[in-house]
Amino acid sequence: MFFRKKKTASKEDYFTASHRQLIWQRFKSKRTALIAGWFLITFILMGLFAPFLSPYNPTAAGRNENYTNGAPQIPQFCDDAGCSWRPFIHGVERYRGADTNFRWVTRQTEERNYLTFLPSDGWAWHVGKFNLNLPGERFDIRAPGIEFTTHLFGVQDGYIHFFGTDASGKDILSRTFHAIRVSLAVGTIGVFISFVLALVIGGISGYFGGWVDSGIQAFTDSIRVIPTIPLFMALAAFVPDGWTAEQRFFFISLILGLLGWTTLARRIRTHILAERNADYVLAAQLCGASSGHVIRRHLLPSFTSYIIVDLVISFPYMVLSETALSFIGLGLKDPVNSLGVMLQNVSKVDVLLNYQWYFIPVPIFVAIVLAFVLVGDGLRDAADPYSEVNK
């Protein structure tokens, strides 16, 4: 194996390497996990740059009234009139006449509509725009941010829909990019909240031990035993109808985080229990360091890398829970696009028969979860200090 060879070459490096370097070394030698890692990075970048990548506004503001339920438009280089180096699509028009029984139909025209790159007259998106409406005028925080109108691609005039459009004419490609962004954001906020909770609860439990530990563990076990989705459903049902999409978004992330900490807290407790009797902890305590200081400065750094691994592993479950909640209509709702919201649209037979492009977000969703699971597994194997010995 690659790593074995290197070990003999520089033994010194191996013994002085930190946890993180060792994990990274082992992770690099796993091909599946590495490929999944690249996919993951791509998806994260897609989420981060969603407004730049998506040609149209994903909400109702960016809808194309003349092309509802429209099929994907594939750019082509050639048509009956010859070929061109620049990819183009054919224009569409709404038409009604005797030959269509006087019903409105959408049909293609012969006119060419060339693709443009980096057009600067698209819909406006903002970086760093921030609006916080707290009760009371004085607490409102507003930052205008910087406005951009440039996008990766567009067409000369009209619209182009790589992934087609939905029932109200919204561009599915743009919606998908934003859905990835929102789903990842929900996961990140949820993981962050559960991480902080787990750190505090697991830290206290593991550091103090004794009856504090027993009590906290019994309580944690009681929460763990309740199936999470019914609990999520119960909490999500509290959301009053009057809430805005953003409030809903934060609330859903919050409850995902508030319920997801138990497994992580347990892992942290186990780590701390194992470490707290080490000599360096005793030394710090003898020097008069407070409990908080010992946990923060001495215990946590000793297993940060393991915590990161645990966070990656718990991430797909957050995304899955959010998707499931949104799918049954208790999670995020329409103006906000998440993968769950998009999957709501595919639950009709009509869609399977006539509008297959609605299914495009499904494989993307599966790929994201799969990428996270594979990377998480790879990291876990790499973080396991005994995995090397067993081989």
Partner: protein, 322 residues
């Protein structure tokens, strides 16, 4: 002992959740009457609150609820439907339980032999295929699978496969025909719930077996001339059995976790859908709380059983308990 403690904590959490819903039962019931054309006053609401005992402090109401549940199996009254929750949920919960338990059994019937075989043929074709399946089991969530199967069947065979009963049996009393009808429908939710659970259980069994099968006692047994299936089943499999039994509770938890969503997709008439209706549509806290509590109670009970089972099969556990 721990099981009772866990149940108490769970009941408190569930009860608090029910209380957190804005507005109480009396207000909601009166508001409902209001829409029916009756004019109600604040005095009516107060009278209704007193009748329901809502004027008493939180902890006392919780104690009442818990004692009712534990001693008499009485979950109180449904907020809107004015029927005893036990009667409303009873049969539907039994259906859910049947589905979940069958899925659990199916999971282990598949996972244990395939997991053992796959650990033994590590690196082979079966092992590779199994890994792909188990990753897909994680990444392709149950509700998506249910949706795909349903759409596929509808388009290709014209049969929707949704629901648990054919229309003529939906409200009929139990009979042999109704049971047969149930069997015709119930295999799909069971299979779908077992799919994801099997994926995870397979990984557990495989990991445990591959840990055990290279240990010295197995080598020693092989040196004594034991080989093949006999070797696998007599030595590493027995060792791996303990943790597998331990994981049954978590697997049941996972199945119950997925049940409501799958039930909604497949339009089953079980407790999962009732829970969803109670939460999303009628906002019926009593009903929702009772269902969550029943589900959790089942899991706690199964955990208790597996603990006993573990003590029975593993002398080390038995000795540490007494």
């Amino acid at each position: 002992m721990l099981a009772v403690f866990t149940l108490t904590v769970v009941s408190f959490i569930v009860f608090s959740l029910m209380e957190l819903v804005p507005g109480n039962c009396a207000e909601r019931y009166i508001a409902y009457k209001n829409t029916q054309g009756n004019i109600v006053t604040q005095a009516d609401i107060t009278a209704e609150e007193v009748r329901m005992g809502l004027d008493r402090p939180y902890v006392i109401r919780w104690a009442n609820w818990v004692s009712g549940v534990f001693l008499r199996g009485d979950f109180g009254e449904s907020c809107l439907r004015r029927v005893s929750v036990s009667r409303l949920v009873g049969e539907k919960f039994m259906l859910s339980l049947t589905i979940a338990m069958s899925a659990l059994v199916l999971t282990y019937v598949i996972a244990i032999p395939v997991g053992i075989a796959s650990a033994n043929l590590r690196g082979g074709l079966l092992d590779g295929g199994m890994r792909i399946v188990s990753y897909l089991g994680l990444a392709l969530p149950n509700f998506l699978l249910a949706l795909m199967v349903m759409l596929f069947m509808t388009v290709n065979f014209g049969e929707t496969l949704t629901g648990l009963f054919s229309p003529q049996f939906r409200d009929a009393p139990w009979s042999w025909d109704r049971f047969v009808d149930l069997l015709k429908h119930i295999w799909l939710p069971i299979g779908i719930l077992a799919w994801a659970a099997t994926a995870i259980a397979l990984q557990t069994v495989r990991a445990l077996m591959s840990d055990e099968k290279d240990k010295l006692y197995v080598t020693a047994a092989r040196a004594r001339g034991v080989s093949g299936t006999r070797l696998l089943l007599r030595y590493p499999a027995r060792h791996a059995l303990g943790p597998v039994v331990n994981s049954i509770g978590y697997d049941l938890n996972r199945i119950f976790n997925d049940l409501p969503i799958v039930a909604i997709v497949l339009v089953l008439t079980d407790a999962g859908v009732l829970l969803f209706e109670a939460l999303a549509i009628s906002n019926d806290q009593q009903l929702a709380g009772a269902i969550i509590f029943m589900i959790t109670g089942t899991i706690v009970f199964i955990n208790f059983i597996t603990d006993i089972l573990l003590a029975l099969i593993d002398p080390r556990v038995r000795r540490s308990m007494f």
